[in-house]
């Protein structure tokens, strides 16, 4: 009996430890290939060169154009998702009748369940032609269309996390505000949102992290031309798109081109790792405050 219990516990622990091996595996793969890459390309060039052309004859390995593309699409996505997502959260929590709330929430969850390749199709076949009719001279592949659709994809994430944060604010605060004669709008933005601010910040950081790592929408709609620009109308390339571009082509294992996707992946991992840890840290602090 005792031994059986011990064996079962060990088995369960082993399953849990696989997650640690996953992390170690990710870091090991990225670092070992990355170090290989940096033995051939100087890290200074990688961080400062303004051209990324590993697949051309005249090779340059500056990550900046890919980082710029990634941040441009991310910025557009958050510019769409934060105002819309937060407004929906405030509306549902402070204004909407119960039945509307219980109708809208599952519908928004559908938006979150749609595979990203489908969003890419939507960007290319609906949003881009629409934007082209408004803004003549816009290229068929561009950061704006991909960014907007990515923003639409992130709305449910921001709404649902912000709403949870607003919901967790003690009712007494809202009632006190009403008792002082505030309107719903004043209560929402002067009492509830500040009280829930850490949860809302977490939702935005997770949204950014999601946008930085998003692959299929940008691979389909934003183009494959690494370019150091903030112009949202022209084709660009993100870090994730570059990895997809190399993976769909024929690149021999062990070649320098092959190693570039791990170097790009390493840069991507560092960004999301930092963002996720900031949000984890804020979340921990936030929990202490209310419990």
């Amino acid at each position: 009996m005792r031994t059986k219990e011990k064996i079962i516990e060990a088995g369960l622990a082993l399953a849990a430890i696989i997650t640690v091996f996953t992390t170690i595996g990710i870091i090991w793969v990225l670092l070992s290939q990355g170090i290989d890459f940096f033995s051939e390309v100087s890290i200074i060039d990688f961080l400062t060169d303004t051209q990324w052309t590993p697949l051309f004859a005249d090779k340059h390995f500056g990550i900046l154009p890919l980082v710029a593309g990634t941040f441009l699409t991310t910025f557009i996505a958050i510019a769409v998702a934060l105002p819309v997502g937060l407004t929906i959260a405030v509306y549902l929590n402070e204004y909407a009748p119960r039945n509307i709330r219980s109708l809208v929430k599952p519908l928004l969850e559908i938006l979150a369940a749609v595979p990203t390749v489908v969003y890419g199709f939507f960007a290319l076949s609906v949003i881009t032609p629409f934007l082209q009719s408004l803004l003549p001279g816009m290229a068929g592949f561009n950061a704006l269309s991909a960014g907007i659709v990515m923003g639409i994809m992130i709305i449910p994430l921001i709404t649902s996390l912000s709403e949870d944060a607003l919901y967790a604010v003690p009712k007494s605060l809202r009632e006190a505000s009403y008792g002082m004669g505030s309107t719903r709008l004043q209560t929402a933005f002067k009492v509830m949102v500040p009280a829930a601010s850490s949860g809302i910040i977490v939702s935005v950081i997770l949204g950014i992290s999601r946008a930085v790592g998003e692959t299929m929408i940008v691979a389909i709609a934003a183009g494959q031309q690494p370019r150091l620009t903030i112009n949202p109308m022209v084709p660009i390339e993100t870090i994730t798109t570059y990895i997809v571009q190399v993976s769909t082509g024929d690149v021999a294992h062990g070649s320098l081109e092959y190693k570039t996707i791990f170097a790009a992946g390493l840069a991507l991992f560092v960004f999301t790792f930092i963002l996720n840890n900031i949000s984890y840290w804020i979340k921990k602090k936030f929990q202490e405050k209310y419990e």
Partner: protein
């Protein structure tokens, strides 16, 4: 106008702005689904589902991709469900409060935020090259299993946490061992929540494209995979491939394949929601 009237006006204005934003989200969803249905529904017939990919968009079908998706779903379920639930049980019921549990918790929350394409790089090196699986179904399913493991673990923990302590204490008081308590009391009581999490995780797995592209899943597969060692394609990769082609016929094919993919995703999600509601209503502690 005095300031009280002004405030009331602002209050109402925001109410309509809120309704507007909510409608914007829902409208996008409607345009999105409507557009895909209009473009793609006419192309779906038995031939589309049972044909192989082709250079002629009118003759091309999704058979290998659809079977590939089913294979991936099955294999991922076999690998990820036992691992995820076991890990969830360990973290919630056994390894509480020790250092290891603390590390595991931070680690899992980090893994949940790692972009899926990074898992692809992991799978490419570890499963594809070092373990010699190449671009096989098994390599793809192993990669996706690691990707959805955090989701299953977190939802298993949530479901176990929702079981009242009184049940656990009663079981211990009857002389049951820890595992007997987990197996005969906690798991049955949290079954609904666990299954819901598992289904949502699987529906995430079948929509994933990027990691499978990276491990080397093929865009053109002229055969139906018949064993886990076979190379494969899945619906999202087939869709991605068709979207990338210039001919209009392939865009229509992409829309049709999207309808099939969304159908599978929504059925899984709907089933999960149904289970969650039923479970919430049935269980009253």
């Amino acid at each position: 106008m005095n300031s009280s009237q002004k405030n009331r006006l602002k209050d109402n204005a925001f109410k309509y702005f809120g309704i507007g934003c909510t409608l914007f989200g829902l409208l996008m969803l409607a345009i999105f689904l409507g557009n895909i249905l209009i473009e793609g529904i006419g192309r779906i017939d038995w031939g589309f589902i049972t044909s192989f990919p082709s250079r002629n968009p009118g003759k091309a079908g999704i058979l290998p991709a659809l079977i590939g998706t089913l294979w991936i779903m099955g294999l991922t379920a076999i690998i990820a469900i036992p691992l995820g639930i076991s890990a969830g049980i360990y973290l919630e019921e056994y390894g509480k409060k020790n250092r290891l549990a603390n590390i595991l918790e931070i680690n899992i929350s980090n893994l949940a935020g790692v972009p899926s394409i990074i898992y692809g790089l992991l799978g490419l090196e570890i499963f594809g090259r070092i373990m010699g699986m190449g671009g096989s179904l098994l390599a793809g399913a192993s990669t996706l299993s690691l990707l959805i493991l955090p989701i299953i673990i977190v939802s298993t923990r949530e479901a176990l946490k929702a079981v009242p302590t009184s049940i656990k204490e009663a079981s211990f008081a009857m002389g049951a061992s820890k595992w007997q308590t987990v197996w005969y009391q906690l798991l049955p009581a949290s079954f609904g929540g666990i299954v819901t999490g598992v289904i949502l995780a699987l529906s995430r797995a079948i929509g994933e494209t990027a990691p499978l592209i990276v491990i080397g899943a093929l865009a053109y597969v002229p055969f139906v995979p018949s064993s886990p060692a076979d190379e494969f394609s899945v619906l999202p990769i087939q869709i991605f491939n068709w979207i990338g082609r210039p001919q209009k016929g392939f865009a229509i094919n992409a829309a049709s394949a999207i309808i099939i993919l969304l159908l599978v995703t929504f059925i899984l999600n709907g089933f999960a929601m149904f289970l969650r509601n039923r479970w919430q209503r049935k269980v009253k502690w």
